[in-house]
Subunit: 178 residues, 2 copies
């Protein structure tokens, strides 16, 4: 998720670590803050894998900056990760939102639609958080107000997302037709 965000932000423009940190904090930080001690090792990993390159710029404002640029390999890697997200990128809302935040980088509307369809398939699976044996329970069947809350909220999210998914898929298909 973190790596995807790094690649996603750098796809647009080269950035130094600190700026990247701020952008990632803005994107997902209010929900899931990223520690500094997680970001810098992640940058190193990506650099070691040849996905990004760094050029040291002597201190413009404070300490010297390492400006990070995606390599061609890095650009390809981002597109791969976007086009073929793994199961958890689809199911976990935090990861899914990160995919969505950068999905526009995929050049083909058809490829974008494929990703949306995977999420759609997931949302259409009959699943709950609470079961009576194998049968998923509806909010109305629960006595516990807190568990009822979980289902109420999850259902509202699901509804809103399904509406959006259908609308967006339609306009992507229109774009592909023209």
């Amino acid at each position: 998720m973190l790596e995807l965000a790094i690649l996603g932000f750098l796809y647009d423009t080269p950035l130094h670590g600190y700026e990247l940190r701020k952008r990632i904090a803005a994107l997902t930080g209010h929900v899931r803050p990223v520690a500094e001690s997680t970001l810098y090792p992640a940058i190193k990993r990506l650099e070691k894998a040849g996905l990004l390159a760094r050029t040291t710029e002597p201190g413009a404002v404070a300490a010297p900056r390492h400006v990070l640029t995606l390599t061609e390999k890095g650009r390809g890697e981002l597109l791969n990760r976007l086009a073929e997200p793994d199961r958890r990128d689809i199911t976990d809302e935090n990861r899914w939102f990160t995919v969505l935040a950068f999905l526009r980088h995929l050049p083909e509307p058809a490829a974008q639609a494929d990703v949306l369809r995977r999420r759609l398939a997931f949302l259409e699976e009959p699943a709950s958080f609470f079961y009576d044996g194998d049968r998923p329970l509806a909010a109305e069947e629960l006595d516990d107000p807190f568990r009822r809350g979980v289902l109420t909220i999850a259902r509202a999210t699901s509804q809103a997302e399904l509406t959006w998914l259908h609308a967006t898929l339609e306009s992507l298909e229109d774009a592909a037709d023209s």
Copy 2:
């Protein structure tokens, strides 16, 4: 999150590892599956910390089972974690849902309400995923349909949750009055 779920399930009744695994999978597995190789070490950790005890039952169906029971310390620990969730338990929906799934175990309605109020405060903070400088952007201001989706979905979730939170807080306060 995993530890909280283990403590939460065992608070009701002793279970063996495999059954615990199935319940956790039902609770959060469709969103965030938990590997077996994560569960057993987690059980060990909790055991080592004196939060749960295991009694070996000779193989009822298949291999011998380790029936896990919460100790008094374990019961206290669960209540503590529920009453004073850390910041990430409040902000991250996955963790928050786990808190909600077991919040009924807190004996005091006032304590339950305190936890809900922390979530309420978080949801009322003005935050977006996307910014123009410092100003949070609304869905309508974005060209990117995917980013617009993120905001649309997040807003729907937020609305549903706020409605539920207010209603539930009210009924908790009524319960405390009577």
